[in-house]
Symmetry: C2
């Protein structure tokens, strides 16, 4: 409805007194058009407010639609926002448009979104996968769809993937806590279905195991997505007869809940947080931050997709980024 009365190429051609093909050539800057003719066509287009229909062009030419699909957990999450920024920057130079959608960690919603974007004929699909199997993508991949997985691996298909060292990064941070003498370290995550959380908790367990520390289930919260619940659970840990002496938060929001719970209990324990994005130096409890660098994640994933679009073939590639480490308390002198 909204775009119905638009002038078409034929209108431009008619107004310029040339044929369809000549108008097309002139507007696309192709060779073989007399300068005067080209100028006439461009003037006609300007006067008419002509806007070429990219959908029609893509259909007629068989060329790709110049759009990249990006499916992530949640656009409103600062982590993913930064990731999108990285993708956008990598795409910018190529005049590729970005079609974005959130699956909110719902596998079925992800599948629907994949379908919708494939039907829209995006040139490539960047996905931060929801939990669960995604082998339904095989078909599209076999038909030439470029898929790149980022932040988490895609289960059921082999595609280019960019992830970070969740496990090692977490283990190293927990090792630091242990080296400082801590033996009762709480571990907090927001959703046990997420691969990133599983890896980070595995890193926590790895470090504990190396030090011969038995895991205390009372110090582990895997399902802290609900802030109310997680604050209560952390408060209980702090109030117990054998409380933790340090906290490892595998997720930023859960880490912030920990800060709130500590403040409520008037206690301040050493805190490690994975992927705290929001100026951690300004938090009342400056943590040790382990960082994924979502901007880089997005940029690299987009670049890998572009390489595939440029014709790169070969087996799926796996890129594993090292994580950053920022001892915020030390950096601000506390």
């Amino acid at each position: 409805m909204s775009q119905r009365s638009r002038p078409k190429l034929a209108d431009v051609a008619e107004r310029a007194g040339v044929s369809l093909k000549t108008a097309s050539r002139a507007l696309n800057g192709e060779y073989g058009v007399a300068p005067a003719t080209a100028e006439k066509v461009l003037a006609a287009a300007r006067e008419l407010g002509f806007r070429p229909n990219l959908l029609a062009r893509s259909l007629a030419s068989g060329r790709p639609s110049a759009a990249i699909g990006l499916i992530i957990a949640n656009v409103a999450d600062p982590f993913f926002a930064e990731l999108i920024g990285g993708v956008e920057r990598a795409l910018g130079a190529r005049d590729l448009q970005l079609v974005i959608a959130s699956h909110h960690d719902d596998p079925e919603r992800q599948q629907k979104l994949v379908r919708a974007l494939v039907e829209r004929r995006v040139d490539a699909l960047l996905v931060t996968p929801a939990p669960g199997d995604a082998s339904y993508l095989r078909d599209d991949i076999d038909h030439g769809l470029v898929v790149v997985s980022l932040d988490r691996p895609l289960v059921g298909v082999e595609v280019d993937t960019v992830i970070v060292e969740n496990r090692t990064g977490s283990a190293n941070a927990v090792r630091e806590l242990i080296a400082s003498g801590h033996r009762r370290i709480a571990a907090l995550a927001n959703d046990p279905r997420l691969w990133t959380m599983q890896e980070r908790i595995a890193g926590y367990r790895l470090a504990l195991g190396e030090a011969g520390i038995a895991e205390d289930p009372a110090l582990v919260l895997l399902d802290g997505a609900d802030s109310q619940v997680s604050r209560r659970r952390i408060a209980e840990m702090l109030a117990s007869s054998d409380p933790p002496t340090a906290i490892f938060a595998a997720h930023n929001a859960t880490g912030r809940d920990a800060i709130r719970a500590m403040r409520a209990a008037a206690r301040e324990l050493p805190l490690v947080v994975f992927d705290e994005e929001s100026d951690p130096d300004l938090l009342v409890t400056p943590p040790l931050v382990i960082q994924s660098d979502p901007t880089r994640l997005g940029r690299v994933a987009a670049e890998m997709a572009l390489e595939r679009l440029d014709g790169l073939s070969g087996p799926a590639r796996l890129v594993v980024h090292q994580v950053g480490r920022h001892d915020v308390a030390r950096e601000i002198g506390r």
Copy 2:
């Protein structure tokens, strides 16, 4: 290139042994297809991995492309991330896809993005305008493009607009500071070209004027986009012989710079911040927060666009949201 070898509707029809149109009807769930025939078609489509080409469908049917364009300042900014979330939610029920791009407050880049999205035939365009005139949109609007402006007004065309009470909200907050006895109040903004900043500073001036306080240029920083610069400027204010006794930050990032500068100077002044998104209760200096509610901004703008797409006509509408006010320090008991 990537989607070339896909089966088309004709392939499905052939495999099912029916005509093109019958296959089309069956796949679109239209009436007038025998159940057995429909089943055959669906089976054929499944076996072939058929994905309808939405671009072709849109072209052939004249129906809209089921995509909404969203042009904002910066996808990676948490404020806009939330705004996107609001748009996405409002669109979700309708199966509309979201094409997103950032102009980084560059008017020329915005114009390019508008063109690109119009050529892609988005059904509607939601824009958080970059500074400057945008009357180039008139032509597209006249041709039926639905445009909604959000967070800032669009200059040069009259379109549905959703903004917030930047001026009143700022004035009220500054009035509170004045009522507490402050007469030397610093004002910080990040970019004087932005309408939102102009309005908020106008609110600051309004409150000062009412109280008969002369503005001291030494206490006003309008161009604090560079964090280094803004921290230095704020530090100079604090170190001056006649320092401010309170701070009004018209922008969140500049507000955080103020917190850093205060910490560096070992001073803590009452702080008002506009649009602090990142858990202000956890900041070392809990501010009084004036909130735009970007999620609502996005949701309402998207709804207005949908109403237009549904055929609503009439003059451009202006929606002005009241801002929220959170005295974070008081709320957390400090």
